[in-house]
């Protein structure tokens, strides 16, 4: 066994494969955060007055707030005045089509395996690529338009569909929600906007790829997905950043609105730079993601594979407001070296006959700490609500930690809630069994870890399942086949 541990530990020190830097001229605002900077960001994006007003309100609220300290995380003090809140690759004008996009940018996304160009056609996934603070291109615009689907950068949406943005922005995550949501609301620079009209099933999967490139910047994107009654969409999100010694901040907000009988499936493969084996550098990932099943029979499903970031603070949640609405959360969180993750979900049952399911798999290696933190709340009028939660943690090595903090609150006597959690290392008996069948130790570990995560992987769309598996291979090569 000790040999295996050694092997695994050697392998988890694999290099971060998305760690390159693209040398591209960037348009950066000065570092610091004040009203002037916010006005500057708003002006650069040519935003209407109400948008700037909203940002400033958020900023003023943020100034009254304190950094949250309840998570099981050691977060070094962040100097919010040292961050550049806006950085964009220099382009003369916004490109009209992908052909006009700087080839260097396209090359970056190509290198990351994100098909923006011809390959997109083969993959059949519409992609919005966000480079530092702005969206650089969205594929398949025409096909989506035909279906009535709006998929564009957030800045474009503010220009082209202000009424939708104004109606829904902050309706799921108000700027008063938490410290990082308030910060994001004040300075967010871009992100993706999705609108699926009534009764429409989005003809292809939508995807956003986030890339932090510039130094000393933070990325603050905002995603808003609206599914009108009977609409359906599957949305994928991926992220990477170059390897750097200093830490960079990523504070995103994602809002989902599902109306009557609408379905939204949101999948994330998060692979921000995690820092080196000594814990130097890496992204601080403080993200607020929340879905609102606003009307009856709505359904929201979150799937996440979290392998990156030095610090992850993220709780994709569902507000089950409509009767018979359903929320799901599937998560694999892997931490190694000095990574810290405090992640989980909240399922707030408000409507009758609402159901939720939580499957969380945590893998800790190296000197990392991996925490599941979840809340299941059954409100008084949520008759017959049902929740099932399963949280499993796998420990690899003697210096890591795995923690589980589920909050379960019930105020309705017809609700049923089940929660299970286990923590263990890879069992010697399991290893022995596999080896007695002729597998070497490495393959045996691979098989066991793969099996451990399978329930979550099978929820991912095909393209992402492949990427997720590959990512675990990088992080735990030899542990995943």
């Amino acid at each position: 066994m000790s040999e295996t541990v050694e092997q695994v530990q050697n392998l988890i020190q694999q290099r971060y494969k998305a760690g390159f830097f693209t040398d591209i001229e960037a348009d950066k605002v000065r570092a610091g955060l004040d009203e002037e900077i916010i006005a500057m960001i708003s002006a650069k994006k040519n935003e209407p007055a109400w948008m700037l007003e909203w940002r400033l309100k958020a900023f003023h609220h943020w100034q009254t707030m304190k950094t949250p300290n309840w998570a099981l995380l050691k977060v070094p003090a962040i100097d919010f005045q040292a961050i550049h809140y806006y950085a964009a690759p220099k382009q003369k004008n916004r490109p009209k089509s992908l052909d006009e996009v700087d080839p260097k940018l396209l090359e970056t996304f190509d290198k990351l395996g994100v098909p923006l160009h011809e390959r997109a056609r083969l993959a059949g996934v519409a992609v919005d690529a966000v480079f530092d603070s702005v969206s650089v291109g969205t594929t398949f615009q025409k096909e989506l338009k035909e279906a009535g689907v709006i998929f564009c950068s957030f800045s474009e949406a503010v220009q082209e569909h202000p009424e939708l943005v104004q109606e829904y922005l902050g309706s799921v995550v108000p700027y008063t929600d938490n410290y990082f949501a308030a910060l994001n609301s004040a300075v967010f620079s871009d992100g993706s906007f999705v609108y699926i009209p009534e009764g429409t099933r989005c003809p292809m999967e939508l995807s956003t790829y986030f890339r932090i490139n510039a130094r000393d910047t933070g990325q603050f994107e905002r995603t808003l997905i609206i599914a009108e009654p009977g609409a359906e969409v599957s949305y994928l999100e991926g992220c990477t950043a170059p390897m750097r010694d200093e830490n960079q901040l990523h504070a995103a907000v994602v809002e989902l609105v599902a109306r009557k009988k609408a379905k939204i499936k949101y999948s994330t493969v998060q692979n921000w730079y995690p820092g080196d084996e000594n814990g130097k550098g890496g992204i601080y990932n403080f993200v607020t993601k929340r879905g609102d099943c606003r009307e009856d029979d709505a359904r929201i499903s979150w799937t996440q594979v979290e392998t990156g970031s030095a610090i992850t603070w993220k709780y994709p949640s569902c507000i089950l407001r409509g009767d018979r609405s359903a929320g799901e959360f599937y998560s694999v969180a892997l931490t190694h070296n000095h990574q810290q993750a405090d992640t989980g979900t909240k399922m707030i049952h408000l409507g009758k006959d609402t159901t939720s399911k939580i499957i969380s798999k945590g893998i800790s290696a190296g000197k990392s700490n991996n925490t599941y933190r979840g809340l299941v709340r059954i409100a008084k009028r949520a008759e017959n609500a049902r929740n099932y939660t399963q949280c499993d943690s796998l420990l690899i090595g003697k210096t890591c930690g795995a923690h589980t903090f589920p909050y379960i609150e019930s105020a309705n006597a017809t609700a049923k809630i089940e929660h299970e959690a286990t923590t263990s290392r890879i069992g010697e008996d399991q290893l022995f069994y596999c080896r007695s069948r002729g597998l070497d130790e490495e393959d045996a570990v691979a098989m066991i870890v793969d099996g451990f995560c399978k329930e979550v992987f099978k929820e991912l769309p095909m393209e992402f399942a492949v990427e997720a598996k590959a990512l675990l291979e990088i992080s735990l090569e030899g542990a995943v086949g």
Binding site: I378, K398, T404, P406, E409, A413, H419, T422, R425
Partner: protein, 403 residues
């Protein structure tokens, strides 16, 4: 919250005795931290409003109820928080002495969650050390009772030490009347190879009861806790087990039954400080009327505490739409070669089980009582002593009759 400070811990009035220095330090800590508020994680679901509204006065003149137990036992009576030697018998092998100042000097209660432990340290009226030096033949009962006209705030403190190889069954019989506050702190230490079976049978009316029980367990010692908790207006029980040396074993089993105007909050922590230690916990809560049940069960396994094993499960029955259950099982694991698990459920009586019993000719009310009993009795079933188990089962049955 400052009203509570003024009521319970006024700047003046600290007893000037041989513990004065310890008291002064504890008071300073309490003042700097304050009492918990709704933002204090460990008191998130338990409000102190009930206490704020109370005016604490005298400890009362009336007689306290005496325990009548269906088994032979030695009783130590604590009436309105004070030891009453006239109503007590000390068996051989047991000593009860005032606690020396030294034992209090190294105590430390971290954080705001422990405000009541600091309050106790600053204000205790009496502090006793109970030493159990040899195996005891029959149960030792600690009878805590308050009288009908009790409206004071008392802070009893009891340190219990079991010598190496000693063994005992300790029954805490707690029946509080009146509208005061009892803020009890117990420190229990088990020396190597000692065995302690600790039963708590609690039934308070309007009384507010805050209790901290810290248990430290040395090599091959064995601690078992059983509670049959009938609740009270405000009951808060902190129970912490520290498994300090290899072979230490701890178990917690309990059931709390809540009805209207009752609030019961159990915060348990099992800390595996070293490897080769084992523990398990099973806790059930049943809430009817406007009862509120809170359960927070933590399992902590320290770095390097390999070969530690722990399992916790908590089941909850919510019987009324005005009742509430908040439960939080926690795992905090820093060692690799361990197994730790927890499970939690909240639900109601199964319709199918009820239907089954009714098809067998059992009337609905009786069938429901049977199912409730089956649910609530489970944590008490593993009590090894038949007499004690039967005693609690009878009490449970009586209690459920009133549900």
């Amino acid at each position: 919250m400052s009203a509570l400070i003024d009521q319970l811990a006024p700047e003046s009035g600290l007893p000037d005795d041989s513990h004065a220095e310890v008291r002064r330090r504890a008071q300073a800590r309490l003042m700097s931290q304050g009492f918990p508020d709704p933002k204090t994680e460990a008191w998130k679901y338990t409000s102190l409003r009930v206490l704020e509204k109370r005016e604490f006065q005298g400890i009362g003149q009336q007689a306290v109820p005496r325990c009548a137990l269906p088994f032979a036992a030695d009783v130590l009576a604590f009436d309105n928080g004070q030891y009453n030697p006239d109503a007590s018998t000390l068996p051989d092998g047991v000593r009860l002495e005032p606690l020396d100042a030294q034992s209090l000097e190294t105590l430390d209660y971290a954080g705001r969650e422990d405000a009541f432990a600091w309050l106790n340290l600053a204000r205790f009226e009496q502090a006793w050390k109970l030493s159990i030096d040899a195996p005891l033949a029959r149960p030792l009962v600690l009878a805590f009772a308050t009288s009908d006209d009790f409206s004071g705030a008392v802070h009893p403190r009891l340190h219990i030490e079991l010598a190496a190889n000693a063994s005992a069954t300790l029954v805490e019989w707690q029946h509080g009347q009146g509208e005061g506050l009892v803020n009890l702190v117990e420190q229990i230490h088990l020396n190597p190879n000692a065995r302690l079976h600790h039963l708590v049978q609690r039934q308070h009316g309007e009384l507010a009861w805050v209790q901290r029980t810290d248990v430290s367990i040395e090599r091959d010692a064995d601690y078992r806790f059983h509670a049959l908790d009938g609740g009270g207006r405000l009951v808060r029980q902190d129970l912490r087990l520290d498994l300090l040396q290899a072979g230490a074993h701890g178990e917690i089993d309990g059931v709390a039954l809540l009805d209207s105007r009752q609030h019961v909050d159990y915060h348990t922590a099992i800390n595996h400080q070293v490897g080769h230690t084992t523990s398990r916990e099973s806790f059930r809560m049943m809430a009817d009327g406007t009862g509120v049940g809170v359960f927070n069960g933590r399992i902590y396994i320290a770095r390097g505490a390999d070969d530690s094993h722990s399992d916790l499960n908590t089941g909850n029955l919510l019987l009324s739409d005005s009742a509430r259950i908040n439960t939080k099982p926690e795992l905090e694991i820093y060692a690799e070669d361990v197994t730790a698990s927890h499970g939690a459920t909240i639900g109601q009586l199964e319709d199918s089980a009820l239907f089954y019993l009714r098809t067998r000719g059992i009337p609905t009310q009786e069938a429901m009582a049977l199912l409730k009993f089956g649910f609530a009795a489970e944590p008490l079933e593993n009590i090894e002593n038949d007499t004690l188990r039967d005693w609690l089962m009878v009490l449970l049955n009586e209690h459920l009759g009133s549900f």
